[in-house]
């Protein structure tokens, strides 16, 4: 067992830090999304260094992996500094294309992803198909040389700035529900697509936007079918396994927690000093141990990834991260008394950031695979418990 980074890992980390120091601006900071010109440019500069395509063959625009943990070091440093991280474009979309798509599709899309040429939306969720994606109803009707789609999707993050949709649609309404879904790549400027914005709760100017997407007789060329017809659900499930990037870094939580602790070291409420209050001290101490556990689960997932796909470890990381994020936000507000709920102004610690943190924390528990659903995944895939239908956990591949 060796918990230390190797010299080459440290060298790469320093290279990433130097890049961030050089390229980071206030416009880039503050979101993991690549949704503003400044953030797009920041990621494109990383792409030029070959950091997006690490581990993919060079003929598809990839670059050699310096060592197995390079991707994690990169994302951890990005997350620590509040920069956009390398996420679904590479983790889900490029990986799935690489494993299942035709040679033409690989040649067309992989280099563009690795150059950061245009953003992607993952367009799966429907009002009646959230946690249970297999229940999606939005149909793509086979018209020979193309598919025609009329219907809608919602909670589609990134749709308002994407160039392509990575879209799952029902292609066989008569087959068992997991066997009638296919994946398509759809240009966002295809006629028949319309967006309606959905705003998450939050302070004006800080909210995260997501979208409803409506389709009216939208046509998708047959060449944009990814892999085989009706295999889409299996691809979606497999993508969870490719998604090494799903190992979300804990670095930003550690950074935010340390900021709170630092604030309390010097806080003074009319002479009452929280740094000497036993309850405050123990509450922060307890949280600090729980945050450290998060960094440990992250380490575990990272180390596992050197040998195999850490699917379960990634789920644990997600559950712990979202749970602790929530506990942390609750605590941060609880300890502030009435000031915790302030959304700005003179007496607002962190300029209202704590209230923002609280509102986002609940959202993180339900986004991208809810906490309780993910716990069931851990129970089934790690502990071998049967699923609720008594069926085998994963479809046969």
């Amino acid at each position: 067992m060796d918990f230390d980074w190797s010299p080459e890992e440290i060298a790469f980390r320093d290279e990433v830090r130097e890049f961030i120091r050089r390229e980071m601006t206030d416009e880039v900071k503050g979101s993991i999304f690549i949704d503003t010109p400044a953030r797009v440019e920041f990621v494109t500069r990383m792409a030029r260094l070959g950091w997006l395509g690490m581990g993919f063959p060079e003929k598809y625009g990839g670059s050699p992996n310096p060592f197995p943990l390079a991707q994690f070091i990169l994302n951890a440093e990005l997350d620590r500094s509040g920069a956009p991280i390398i996420g679904k474009n590479v983790g889900t979309i490029a990986s799935t294309i690489f494993h299942v798509a035709s040679e033409e599709m690989k040649m067309e899309f992989l280099p563009r992803i690795f150059r950061n040429e245009g953003q992607w939306a993952i367009t799966y969720t429907e009002p009646n198909a959230g946690t249970d994606l297999g229940s999606m109803q939005c149909r793509a009707i086979d018209k020979g040389d193309h598919f025609e789609v009329t219907g809608m999707k919602h909670y589609i993050t990134s749709a308002h700035f994407c160039r392509w949709h990575w879209m799952a649609l029902r292609t066989d309404p008569d087959a068992p529900k997991h066997k009638g879904i296919s994946i398509f790549i759809v240009d966002h400027d295809t006629p028949g697509i319309r967006l309606s914005r959905m705003d998450t709760i939050g302070r004006e100017g800080t909210t995260h936007r997501t979208n409803q997407v409506f389709f009216d007789q939208m046509k998708i060329p047959r060449s944009r079918l990814v892999g085989e017809l009706n295999k889409g659900f299996y691809y979606m499930m497999q993508a969870l396994d490719y998604e090494r990037f799903a190992i979300l870094s804990f670095a930003s939580r550690v950074r935010r927690f340390n900021k709170i602790v630092d604030w309390y070291k010097n806080a003074d409420f009319s002479g009452e000093r929280p740094a000497t209050d036993p309850y405050t001290r123990r509450a922060l101490a307890r949280m600090s141990a729980r945050i450290e556990v998060g960094t440990m689960l992250e380490r575990m997932a990272i180390c596992k990834a050197q040998y195999e796909v850490p699917a379960v470890e990634a789920a644990m990381n997600k559950v712990w991260g979202a749970t602790i994020g929530d506990e942390f936000a609750q605590l941060a507000l609880d300890l502030m008394g009435p000031f915790g709920g302030l959304w700005g102004g003179e007496h607002s610690p962190f300029g209202g950031g704590l209230a923002d943190e609280y509102l986002m924390a609940g959202h993180a528990r339900v986004a991208a695979g809810g906490v309780d659903t993910s716990k069931s995944i851990i129970a089934r895939r790690l502990l071998g418990l049967p699923n609720a239908l008594g069926k085998p956990e994963l479809p046969q591949r």
Binding site: S6, R286, I378
Partner: protein, 384 residues
């Protein structure tokens, strides 16, 4: 960075696991609880010695194996899985380390090989009438009398005090209510003036109240410098705490395994209860906590082995492992339903121990105070 066990560690784990499977059965643990006078088995102790375990961290020049704390955690986790009752922790971790670090040349040459050979068992006489684990709260007096010292006072929760040959006593020789002014003594258990009384616990283990009534010990019984006992003890105590976390994590993993197996097999409403999301949620939550506690424990051991400042990590490991073992024993028992609370059910051996492990060697609040000292009163150490 790699958390895989080395080949040697994997081998050690395998040997320990097989040995424990064979010798530390539920029947054995129950016998130690109810029938054994000492609460542990001397034959087993001799076998530990034969396998070299008793000298795990003792340097090779004193006959030990000179292995790391991380290795020790790997071993003791297997003892914990089987809730093995033995004086290993205070003999082969605490006493071994503190003698190695603070002992004189003569003390090391005499005492360490005895530990390796299984000839001497140590008990730790520290806790007094205090909710916490603070050195400030130690009041047992050691007064100089000519060349000798005379000890007066009471120690509580001294595990295996009746089976031990030597008591490692932390006594006050100087300033009251302070971390300084403490001195360590290695007191022969058979010294005149020592009396013990069993303190019955829900674990049916062997904790004792030890009364010291004018116990006269020679100057050679002093370990380390006068009034510098805490400085000598604390580093070894942190190692002991980490080893203890390894033990309780092992116990937690084992209990979790029994609950998982039961959830897969127990059928109600026509299906295994493990199909229900609530049960899945319990088991998933607990396995995350166990992995977290385990990793934090191993990580702390690694930092200690590298001689880095690890007090904050140790405190986090202990606070979290303690909470975890308590939680895992409770919730796992719930999964067994009524059976989880029947005397005949073997998992109750774990349930009865969980809370007590949580409270031992400083409870959660004590270690949270230590964490607070590290993160609030002192700049956090940033590891790169």
């Amino acid at each position: 960075m790699d958390i895989k066990l080395t080949e040697e560690q994997a081998q050690l784990q395998d040997i320990a696991s097989k040995y424990m499977d064979k010798h530390c059965t539920f029947e054995f643990v129950r016998r130690m609880e109810k029938e054994s006078e000492l609460g542990f088995c001397r034959d087993m102790w001799r076998q530990f010695a034969e396998m070299g375990w008793l000298g795990m961290i003792i340097p090779e020049k004193f006959g030990g194996m000179g292995m790391s704390l991380l290795d020790t955690v790997v071993l003791i986790r297997e003892l914990g899985r089987h809730i093995c009752p033995s004086p290993f922790l205070f003999t082969s971790v605490l006493a071994s380390d503190v003698i190695t670090q603070a002992g004189t040349r003569d003390q090391k040459a005499e005492l360490l090989p005895q530990i390796v050979a299984g000839e001497k068992i140590y008990a730790f006489a520290y806790q007094e009438y205090s909710r916490f684990f603070k050195p400030e709260h130690i009041r047992l007096q050691a007064q100089k009398s000519g060349e000798n010292f005379v000890l007066n006072g009471t120690k509580l929760f001294v595990e295996f005090a009746d089976g031990a040959d030597t008591l490692l006593v932390v006594a006050r020789t100087g300033k009251a209510n302070s971390q300084t002014g403490l001195t360590l003594f290695l007191v022969d258990r058979s010294s005149a003036g020592i009396s013990t009384r069993h303190m019955p616990t829900m674990s049916r283990d062997r904790h004792y109240q030890v009364d010291f009534n004018n116990v006269e010990v020679p100057a050679s019984a002093r370990l380390g410098k006068l009034n510098k006992g805490w400085a000598a003890l604390e580093p070894s105590l942190l190692k002991t705490v980490i080893a203890f976390c390894g033990y309780t994590n092992g116990a937690g993993f084992e209990m979790h395994g029994y609950a998982t197996k039961y959830a897969s097999e127990r059928v109600q409403f026509g299906r295994p209860i493990g199909q229900m999301q609530t049960i899945q949620g319990y088991l998933a939550q607990m396995i995350m906590e166990l992995y977290g506690a385990d990793m934090l424990t191993l990580f702390s051991a690694f930092q200690i082995d590298k001689a880095r400042h690890a007090r904050g990590y140790v405190a986090k490991a202990k606070a979290f492992s303690a909470e975890t073992v308590g939680h895992v024993m409770d919730v796992s028992s719930q999964i067994f339903g009524g059976m989880g609370y029947m005397e005949e059910q073997d998992t109750t051996l774990y349930l009865r121990r969980g809370k007590q492990y949580q409270l031992a060697l400083g409870g959660t609040e004590y270690w949270e105070d230590v964490i607070a000292e590290e993160i609030i009163d002192r700049e956090p150490v940033v590891l790169t």
